[in-house]
């Protein structure tokens, strides 16, 4: 009985992972294909990686995407942390539920809707001051911030809600002014949450296609947009190489974010356990 169940579990595990990762694995394998034909194996080679380095357009698009992702992540962490603080600290104010719901709504909002509404906004408000005149780097960045800051808010808020309020009071009591309390106590304690929020925002921005397509100008091309338009003309091994690199970068970021979060969680649990033993 137990044997059967473990066989069943094992096979579903294998099938599940196969379903998830065989497409990506085959893409990675074919990126090292010598042949120009994507589906015909012609021996091992890294020549498509070399070709990629010579492709000016691709490199420009990649560099633009990285810049957008970095600015987006930084902006989202600043705004998201402020929102998280407000939600965690204002206590029970009226319509608090509405606010926290509204902050996290973009998590479930269809990207097409978000993209479309942002496009309309940028077009309509372009003549106003502080709104970019033409669409491009800044509009994509703003759009990505609206998408990602809710993730940061949720992460920061959950960290703050497990933080003991008396830590800040203790610092005040010991003679630190409120601004200093924030810098010396609150910020270091929520820093791991901010780091994982930054990494998550970076990753989300880097591989977003839909919102970027809506808010980009005619001459701006982010990497996902570039890949998408190239693929429409047929898949080349070069695209496989590029996609492999992206998978590597995204995996790296997600793994780092995951490790930071689990470390933080482990430490918190250790602290709690220590308290429990101490009592």
């Amino acid at each position: 009985m137990n044997q059967n169940r473990s066989m069943f579990l094992l096979s579903s595990l294998v099938l599940g992972f196969a379903f998830l990762y065989i497409p990506i694995l085959s893409m990675i394998v074919f990126s090292f294909n010598e042949s120009k034909l994507v589906t015909v194996w012609g021996g091992f080679s890294v020549k498509w990686y070399g070709e990629l380095l010579g492709n000016r357009q691709m490199l420009d698009a990649a560099w633009l995407s990285v810049r957008i992702a970095a600015v987006t992540a930084t902006g989202a962490v600043v705004i998201g942390t402020m929102a998280g603080l407000a939600l965690a600290r204002f206590g029970q104010f009226r319509s608090r539920t509405v606010f926290s719901g509204m902050v996290t709504a973009p998590l479930v909002m269809p990207e097409v809707i978000t993209g479309l509404s942002l496009l309309l906004l940028f077009v309509a408000f372009a003549p106003l001051p502080f709104v970019p005149d033409s669409r491009g780097f800044s509009t994509i960045t703003i759009a990505h911030m609206t998408l990602t800051l809710s993730y940061v808010t949720v992460i920061v808020q959950s960290r703050l809600s497990t933080m003991d309020d008396s830590l800040e009071e203790a610092a005040l009591d010991l003679g630190a002014r409120p601004a200093k309390v924030f810098m010396l106590i609150t910020l270091p304690i929520i820093a791991p949450a901010m780091v994982s929020g930054w990494l998550l925002a970076f990753t989300l921005s880097l591989d977003d296609l839909v919102i970027a397509s809506f808010t980009a100008g005619p001459s701006t091309n982010t990497l996902p947009m570039m890949i998408f338009s190239t693929v429409r003309r047929g898949i080349t091994p070069e695209i496989n190489a590029l996609a492999t690199i992206m998978v590597a970068i995204v995996t790296l970021f997600v793994v780092i974010a995951g490790i930071t979060m689990s470390r933080q969680e482990k430490r918190r649990q250790r602290e709690m356990r220590a308290v429990a033993i101490g009592t």
Partner: protein, 378 residues
């Protein structure tokens, strides 16, 4: 443990003594709810003053107003003659030890203790020497580089104490300082806390719901109930001369007999009580209206349990032993009186072998001395 009696000063009895902390008519309202209601207290330099009360009695709110985390709705607080009105927590000569200890988790023991001194911008050598001294006093030498999660509960409590004392505050506030420790460690820590307090001469205000903790720590206790201070006195006064039913029942165990005054003389009163089933004789005058409803309170350890009928006609009742709890040093007996009331009696186990040991369902007489009872009117 409080200081030895001959060394002990009682500045609250000295009319010329200047209070160090003056709380004048403090009220704190949260919306409609009155958490602290017109509290006035004088606390003297070097005291360990305990605010004692159940949860929600306002003791923590009062403490937080002293620390500056809450602003009083009315009234004023003076510390060493200076009004604390509008003074933020970071500028008060007051430090607080939190119930959760609130140690900064990302800092070592040393950094935690040094935090307050760094805010004063003291030279580094001075900070280092004062931190080292303080860690020595709380016996944490060698733990400097540890993080809070690497410490035991008792060690963390001492870091919190060191951190709040290293700034040499005029007043140290302690919120349930022993609440998170187990029983053995508590007793040990109580003595250490008093030793350190005597050594440094800092005035302590301790908030606690644990009457035993208050009795052992305090020079004086302020009993709080529903936002009011109901009685202020030394532990002895609070225990032996409670001024109300609330204080009598809150501190220690007690047997209450409801009754009416039938004879009211300056040197004694007689109370008739149906709950006792006979007259009560109190060997001192009572300020209560004749025929007023009163309660006579007798502590369990002041009652005498015997098989023989007492020779006097009052302060006695017969009954049957219903429960016995053997505690080692003493035994607790629950006796069902003929009137239907159950009383609790504590008797020390003076002899190891007692041939005539009282046991379940024995008929016994309960009695007490005329000086043992306290009469309260409300």
């Amino acid at each position: 443990m409080a200081a030895r009696p001959e060394e002990r000063k009682a500045p609250w009895l000295d009319a010329k003594a200047q209070p160090y902390i003056r709380i004048e008519g403090i009220t704190k309202k949260f919306g409609e709810f009155v958490a602290v209601n017109d509290v006035s207290l004088n606390i003297y330099r070097g005291e360990i003053f305990c605010l004692l009360g159940g949860s929600g009695c306002g003791k923590t709110t009062l403490l937080r107003m002293l620390a500056g985390f809450e602003q009083p709705s009315a009234g004023r607080i003076f510390i060493d003659g200076v009004s604390m009105e509008g003074v933020p927590p970071y500028e008060r000569p007051v430090n607080m030890m939190f119930q959760s200890y609130a140690l900064f988790p990302h800092m070592t023991v040393e950094q935690n203790v040094a935090f307050g001194l760094k805010q004063e911008k003291l030279p580094r050598e001075e900070i280092e020497s004062r931190v080292a001294d303080m860690l020595g006093i709380v016996k944490l030498g060698g733990m400097e580089k540890r993080k809070p999660h690497q410490l035991s509960g008792g060690q963390r409590q001492r870091v919190a104490l060191a951190r709040s004392l290293v700034k040499r505050p005029k007043l140290l506030l302690l919120d349930e300082p022993l609440g998170a420790l187990d029983k053995k460690l508590r007793e040990h820590t109580q003595f250490e806390l008093v030793n350190i307090q005597e050594r440094l001469g800092v005035t302590f205000i301790v908030v606690t719901h644990d009457q035993e903790e208050a009795m052992t720590l305090a020079s004086r206790i302020g009993v709080m109930n529903q936002g009011y201070i109901v009685q202020v006195g030394t532990p002895h006064e609070i225990y032996e001369f409670p001024n109300s039913r609330f204080v009598t029942e809150f501190i220690g165990n007690v047997n209450m007999f409801e009754g009416r005054i039938v004879e009211d003389e300056p040197d004694h009163v007689t109370i008739s009580s149906d709950e006792l089933g006979g007259p009560l004789y109190v060997g001192h005058g009572v300020s209560a209206a004749p025929e007023a409803q009163v309660w006579a309170a007798v502590r369990p350890e002041k009652m005498i349990l015997s098989r023989e009928q007492p020779s006097f006609e009052y302060n006695r009742a017969s009954g049957v032993i219903k429960e016995i709890a053997y505690m080692g040093d003493a035994s607790i007996y629950l006796v069902l009186l003929d009137s239907g009331k159950t009383v609790r009696i504590t008797q020390p186990n003076t002899y190891r072998h007692a041939d005539d040991r009282l046991t379940w369902d024995d008929r016994v007489w309960v009695s007490w001395d005329e000086s043992s009872s306290v009469v309260v009117t409300e």
